[in-house]
Symmetry: none
Subunit: 401 residues, 2 copies
Amino acid sequence: MEALFPDSLIVRNQTKIVFLIVDGLGGLAMGGKGGSELQVARTPNLDALAAGSLCGLLEMVAPGVTPGSGPGHLALFGYDPVQRHIGRGVLSALGIDFPLRENDLAARVNFATLDEDGRVIDRRAGRISTERARELCQKVKSAVDLSPVEIFFEAEREHRAALILRGPNLEADLTDTDPQATGVSPRTCRATHPRAEGTAELINRFLQQTRHILSDAAPANMVLLRGFAQYEKYPSLEERYGLRAIAIAKYPMYRGLARLLGMTILEPYRDYADMLERLRSRLAEYDFFFLHIKEADSRGEDGDFEGKVRILEEIDGLTPALQDLRPEVLVVTGDHSTPSALRAHSWHPVPVLLHSPSARADGTPHFDEYHCARGGLGTRPAVELMSLALAHAGRLTKYGA
Amino acid sequence: MEALFPDSLIVRNQTKIVFLIVDGLGGLAMGGKGGSELQVARTPNLDALAAGSLCGLLEMVAPGVTPGSGPGHLALFGYDPVQRHIGRGVLSALGIDFPLRENDLAARVNFATLDEDGRVIDRRAGRISTERARELCQKVKSAVDLSPVEIFFEAEREHRAALILRGPNLEADLTDTDPQATGVSPRTCRATHPRAEGTAELINRFLQQTRHILSDAAPANMVLLRGFAQYEKYPSLEERYGLRAIAIAKYPMYRGLARLLGMTILEPYRDYADMLERLRSRLAEYDFFFLHIKEADSRGEDGDFEGKVRILEEIDGLTPALQDLRPEVLVVTGDHSTPSALRAHSWHPVPVLLHSPSARADGTPHFDEYHCARGGLGTRPAVELMSLALAHAGRLTKYGA
């Protein structure tokens, strides 16, 4: 599925490809609102852009499958999100912008509260503050000894953290220690494959030591681990497509994912104007620009229909500046839908427009789910988007004589 | 990808399937022209046909991939163009209508000019005439001795020719001798797999002898070889679909490709009237008719928008005669797009109409890229077309009870 074209078709040239990714872009009509968020939003610039573009809908992972942000973005960049599944632990480490190395073993961590019989009474340790979690991570990290294996233990938000082990012979075939329930003890880590037995033993030593170190830290007197995953290097956009790529994103998880794919990462931008300025100032240096806007997803998750509409209208105001830069290919789409009506990611396909001088403009009159469904691109797997972007940028040569 | 249905579904009957393949059919709107070539052309017959047909767009190889004519046609006939890749050497031999046999080894040839130090100074030997090339081919062929391996050395056009070796133990894992540059010597042919070492040695003997034979033939005093490929028999349309197939095509490359797929080949037709007459007179004898029209592609490659429009209007005049023959399935499509705006093949999907009494006519009001995008077939891989044609001709039985 992923090898959409033979590598030998790749051409390097000076063309520019800009992906403006509006997280959670797709929506759903909500009672009394007069349509979906995109249908209701006043987006004159996006509408004019859509009319001169190739429009459609993207299915991110598979029909009916609701994507997490990781799989959604992988698909947009042409990486099969199933074949290239990123384990939760690795995603968590990427999410805190931790510079993973090949074969690092990562797990998601919850601080939790155990009672005196060792049973879990709160899987979230009373949602301790991020600051307190940071202190405790530091305490554990400096006291635990697993040498020759190095440990990294980094707070994320509130009770969440990431554990990373680095060293020889680590394997990820391990069961979670998080029982996903209260009133029972944390589970012992077990190997699901004989090769991981040494690593399971190491994890259990870590837990024993941590239990001791945290004994006076209630409510955060224990940690629960899940989603063990090992970091494998992904082929970069440079390797796969000959693209010098840069990510202009604010949130760590997206910057981490971009780093995974070999993109240059900038410090988080301050506001949309700053995002555009960063794009402008790097335009000569790079070929591919990943611009990420988180807020549409956040409003959708909050069920804030009007808030999401406002964000979309704000984004509409950015598009003329993007067009002024005259990239050969400008794509506007999302990594998944987040309908305010559902307050969550959803499986609904995501509107997309591809603007390029060589695109067959389809006259789509309004940039929304309904009109994009009738666009020239049709509804298609998101993983095909990158091939189309490369083609419209003149970066794929002819196949066969 | 290729095995679209189990072989056991094939039914033989008396129905007729006609494919009218307009080379380079698809186009692109061009500034000031008022649309694409198909949008601008007056095509009342095709429009009426489209309204009573199932219309759509075909993606020939993969999204974003620009097909050569070989892969484009393979897909139309239901052969996966990637899995069934035809090497350049074989395509070149097919292009001069050379009757290849299984395991023949073919390469593309350029006559070239070497200076007295043996360095290439002109990769095209001053574009010698086809006639001169023919003389030199004859001279080389009669003087070279590689027995027991037979050699065939056939002029193509100007400085281009095809070399075919026939004999035991030939293998195609060979590097080009064409250095693709001037100021350097031709490369020695090397095996890229041990099994091809004997063949590499044979090629180098051929080159040594040829160098000697051409020593006084400057500017064509050497040959450069590339694209070594071995001819493997393809399963024929008869074998795969039970279709007795005939090609009514003018240009050698398309006749060669049709021969590769086991079609009967007629001598090149004189004009479109002659093409139709050949179809009419063979209608009883065959099941599947491949009609090939080259001129739309040629005009597109020339950037001649109005010329392509005129060809399309001329083709429009042919369709009533095709309908009068009442084939159970009449398909009009192309092997790739050749927009005049790009003066080249392109990745844009190709309009298609499938006319049949059993088709769900979709009322497409005009046969062009824009309206076909909204047709009942949608945008789909070209390799699926043959299954649909067979089904509408009543040539596929029910799958399962």
